[in-house]
Amino acid sequence: MSGLSVNLTKRLPGFTLDVGWVVRDGFTVLFGYSGAGKSLTLSMIAGTMKPDSGRVVLGDATLCDVGAGLWVPPQRRRIGYVSQSAQLFPHMTVLGNVEYALRATPHRERRRRAVELLERLRVGDLGDKRPGQLSGGEKQRCALARALALEPRALLLDEPLSALDLPLRVEMRDLLRDVQRNSGVPFVMVTHDLYEACTLADTLVVYSGTGVVQVGTPRELVGDPATPEIHRLLRAMEVPDSVFDRQHAGKLIPIDRKEHVA
């Protein structure tokens, strides 16, 4: 069994989240207006927030099933989480941060493994720095290294690129795609940027204001939106048709990057 199945409701003051979707492994992007509950969904997959009802199933492991009274605490889920602000611990060095995630690794091997991970993300020279001394892009790479140190069963990314400058975003997007492909770990990323969504996603999950979602490849969704609202949401970004490579059915390949034109 592989893939991720999410079926959740959560009532908060002034907002009720009620979503259900199933995706295969690979790169999944949750896309939609802000305030539609995308980050909330990630919190409940990570286990840092409890849903009122519903289930989360990752591969063959049920992480949460409110009806059956099942709740796996975040410590035992082994799900990496990288947020927009990276959330590196400011009182530890970068190496300290990565080693903190290597709880299951014997003490004497932690340093070597942490250095290895930082080098893999091309920030091997930053190990002795504190997070406060890093740029936004460096922080994201280090946070990614820390999340991968966990050997996660899935990696959640909450707008990891939105705090970065444009050229860096392009670079980080490529990096994320490479890391996902090479690690084989399922990624679930939240973004507001449709272009980012379309270029990264194997599967796109669209959140609309009413909580209705549509799931499919970016091409399927742009070509056949389920509701007028989703149509408006996707059209608003005006993805040029050239973004789609017609040779790859259903798969989006960026040919003409908007950033390069701008």
Partner: protein, 225 residues
């Protein structure tokens, strides 16, 4: 006035205050952590209970302590058995530590609680998703991030413990050479008209307390800045 006159009370006060502060760190900081990060039934009541010694007259807190550890108190038999004396732990310097601890703890809890509540909960969540237990999250992430506020709380607790009088005299008495801390010694000196000793102690006290307040202020200012 010879030097040993104030040497004993000074050393005793430092010893009592340091141990009381250690108690605040070991007991008060965990209480502050729970009050700052958890929601549970009776939390408000627990908060009131912890803060009560701050507003009660120290003699009242001292009387409660007597009911607890005094002769015939709830734990009196235990302390009698431990010490092998009729009075148990009362009228000893250890009782002065307990009195100072009880009076100083609200200050440590209150300041540490505010500092811990000010730590971004996303850091704790990050620690949890990295596989770390609640205890590891508290010890390695949240409390270190609140370290300055926690230290400020402990500094205030130390200052308060150093000058404890009311509860101390209730449970430890005022026995020269045994339980006469600086505050008690000032009272004794004033009572017997020994103004030079009283003056020296008062000046020492004022300087030490002012220095601790300065340190605590600096620590809390950089927390809120």
């Amino acid at each position: 006035m010879s030097i040993p006159d104030i040497a004993f009370p000074l050393a005793l006060s430092l010893q009592v205050a340091l141990l009381a502060t250690l108690g605040c760190a070991l007991v008060g900081v965990p209480i502050a952590y729970v009050l700052a990060t958890r929601t549970f039934r009776g939390k408000q009541l627990a908060g009131v209970g912890v803060m009560l010694p701050l507003v009660l007259p120290p003699v009242v807190t001292g009387y409660y302590l007597l009911l607890l550890i005094g002769r015939g108190g709830v734990l009196g038999a235990v302390t009698k058995a431990l010490t092998g004396t009729a009075y148990g732990i009362t009228f000893t310097w250890q009782a002065a530590v307990i009195a100072s601890f009880a009076i100083a703890m609200p200050l440590a809890v209150n300041t540490a609680r505010a500092a811990i509540a000010g730590v971004d909960p996303a850091h704790a969540d990050a620690s949890r998703t990295l596989g770390r237990s609640e205890l590891e999250t508290a010890v390695f992430v949240v409390v270190p991030l609140a370290a300055r506020g926690v230290a400020a709380g402990l500094a205030l607790a130390f200052a308060r413990a150093l000058g404890e009088f009311g509860a101390t005299i209730m449970v430890a008495g005022n026995i020269p050479g045994r339980t006469n801390t600086m505050a008690l010694e000032i009272y004794n000196a004033a009572l017997y008209g020994d103004r030079p000793t009283a003056t020296v102690l008062v000046v020492v006290f004022t300087l030490v307390s002012a220095a601790i307040l300065l340190v605590a202020n600096r620590l809390t200012r950089s927390v809120t800045a």
